[in-house]
């Protein structure tokens, strides 16, 4: 008997617990030749704000030991551009679509949320409060608990769509942010976003990224992510979506074991575009081997 991989996240039923991480899977079409999108648990698209944006100058990424620094800086087509150019494509598939949203002010966040509320074919909003690349105060949304609360409340009030705040990892007390999101009516939380970092070049004596600093992702941050997901999952009842360095089914199973109800694959899709699907297959095989009927039986299986 095949194990049941389906999970419910923020009221949305997913075929399996494996999503794509925002910003690492484009808007869907980019990987469609390589990956059967219908086999994904959900697609989370690159961060969108109100109007089209250009993002940072180049260089935008730099490789580090088992990691990647990026300062893409949130270029995007804006709400209308996304709805016009990408949503019809995505709606051809039988897969939940979460839109990752951001803004420069609380009002802008709320407005983006309201605009998507009026669009059909979107399953939920992941709220990027933790992108470290935008200088206009956005970094604060993720690390200042009062700012965080204001933005989550404003979005909650602006939409009936499921709301999934995505936590910044560079805080001393992650449980505080997780609980705050829950108290503000979030339907789920996701973590971790990229970790602030930097790379420099001694030959040029300059920064490796045009933006100076960037966000660290990939296997390097997995131990950090795993601990934060564990702490967050212990702190709240709403589902937790875990991510940070997931490359294999084993990695995903670790996040699920410490309490995540779903996971997202990010940087590893660059390394191997078929990572997410391999993770799905590997989870299925592991559950079968362990004689577990459903992935829910594995969530939180950690022996503490």
């Amino acid at each position: 008997m095949k194990p049941d991989l389906s999970v419910m996240i923020a009221g949305i039923r997913m075929k399996n617990p494996v999503m794509t991480a925002s910003g690492t899977f484009g808007y869907g079409p980019e990987y469609a030749d390589l990956v059967d999108l219908n086999q994904l648990g959900a697609i989370v698209v690159k961060g969108i704000c109100l109007a089209p944006t250009k993002g940072n100058l180049t260089p935008r990424t730099a490789e580090t030991a088992s990691g990647l620094l990026n300062a893409i800086g949130l270029p995007g087509p804006g709400v209308d551009g996304f709805v016009r150019e990408y949503l019809p494509f995505l709606r051809q598939y039988d897969v939940p679509v979460f839109v990752n949203i951001w803004g420069k002010t609380v009002e802008e966040y709320a407005e983006v949320a309201a605009r998507f509320d009026a669009v059909s074919g979107i399953d939920g909003l992941e709220v990027n409060v933790s992108c470290p690349n935008i200088k206009e105060g956005s970094a604060l949304f993720g690390t200042d608990i009062r700012m965080f609360e204001r933005v989550v409340r404003a979005i909650r009030a602006a939409t009936k769509l499921p709301v999934i705040p995505k936590l910044a990892p560079n805080v001393s007390d992650i449980a505080e942010f997780a609980c705050c999101a829950e108290a503000c009516g979030a339907d789920a939380i996701s973590l971790i976003n990229s970790f602030p970092g930097m790379a420099v070049d001694i030959e040029t004596r300059g920064f490796k990224l045009a933006n100076k600093t960037g966000g660290l992702t990939g296997p390097a941050i997995k131990p950090i992510a795993l601990r934060l997901v564990w702490l967050a999952a212990k702190a709240v009842k709403i589902p937790v979506i875990g991510m940070g360095g997931i490359t294999t089914a084993e990695d995903a199973l670790e996040f699920l074991m410490v309490g995540a109800r779903a996971v997202a694959v990010g940087t590893a899709s660059f390394t191997n575009p078929d990572t997410a699907l391999n993770v799905v297959r590997g989870i299925e095989a592991f559950l079968a081997k362990e004689g577990l009927a459903s992935v829910s039986d594995w969530v939180g299986a950690l022996r503490e």
Binding site: G23, T24, F25, G26, E30, Y31, D33, L34, K46, K54, G55, T58, P59, R60, T61, E63, A65, S66, G67, L68, N70, I72, P75, G218, P219, T267, A268, S269, F270, T271, N272, P273, D274
Partner: protein
């Protein structure tokens, strides 16, 4: 575009730090168009999360070859790969060179691995043209006999004069224009260092030639998802980003904002 496990058929050092890596890739090889590239996961380089892009040099039936230079960690490690071993490749990727216009005289301008990247264009061109190859020294010049075997004329320029004419590649191009062009409208196909492309593009724009330039931007995903590889291209009065891995690597020289390229 396809993810494939290719098998190494041949892996031999050439010169100037370059290596020829030929592999069996029945999924990717038959689909390659001139100027496209493959994105390679370097075996045994677990600590690097990114693949490395290489232009396809030759594609014949089920086999394809790349010519790559040892410039860093990835290309150094790639050299350990032995015949019979396998590697993961993603390709063919990108928007390559268009088919040469049969009404124009095709000119290739290449530096570094650009000589390899333009071989397929030379092979498919209906008119045999002239190829200008430039490099620092003799050891940096590749593929001359491959191009000559196709019936192309190859003109080599080296900065130290160790092979061909002493100077830079655009000197040779300018000389051709002054003395030999005989009014023929050339169509340029260029791949090489940014400075070379820029110099070629300036001439083309000034003289009203069509020129296609292959942009060597560093890459993340290789498929258009990460927005690492972008460069500025003209859009109306302003500019927009184009992805070297999707809209490129080959661009019409008139589209590129050359002032932004070093």
């Amino acid at each position: 575009m396809q993810l494939e496990r290719a098998t190494v058929l041949e892996h031999i050092p050439i010169h100037g730090g370059y290596n020829l890596l030929r592999m069996r890739a029945p999924g990717v090889a038959p689909r390659v168009r001139p100027g496209q590239f493959i994105h390679v996961k370097i075996p045994h380089l677990e600590e690097c999360v990114l693949r490395r892009p290489f232009s396809v040099f030759r594609a014949d039936g089920d086999a394809l070859a790349i010519l790559y230079k040892d410039v860093g960690k990835g290309t150094r490690t790639l050299q350990y790969l032995k015949a019979g071993e396998t590697l993961s490749i993603l390709g063919p990727l990108g928007h390559g060179f268009p088919d040469p216009n049969p009404a124009a005289y095709p000119i290739i301008v290449a530096g570094g691995y650009g000589m390899a990247a333009l071989y397929l264009t030379a092979r498919t061109a209906p008119v045999k043209g002239i190829a200008f190859f430039g490099g620092r020294a003799a050891k940096d010049i590749l593929c001359v006999s491959d191009f000559e075997a196709l019936g192309w004329t190859v003109r080599v320029t080296t900065e130290d004069g160790s092979l061909g004419r002493k100077g830079i590649v655009t000197d040779a191009l300018d000389e051709w224009w002054l003395n030999e062009s005989a009014g023929r409208a050339p169509e340029l196909f260029a791949c090489g260092p940014g400075g070379m492309l820029k110099a070629v593009a300036h001439r083309a724009i000034e003289r009203g030639w069509t020129a296609w330039t292959s942009m060597d931007n560093s890459m993340g995903c290789g498929v258009g998802a990460c927005l690492t590889c972008v460069l500025k291209v003209r859009e109306g009065e302003g500019w927009t980003w184009a992805r070297a891995c999707r809209e490129g690597p080959v661009f019409d020289a008139r589209a590129v904002l050359w002032e932004e390229i070093e």
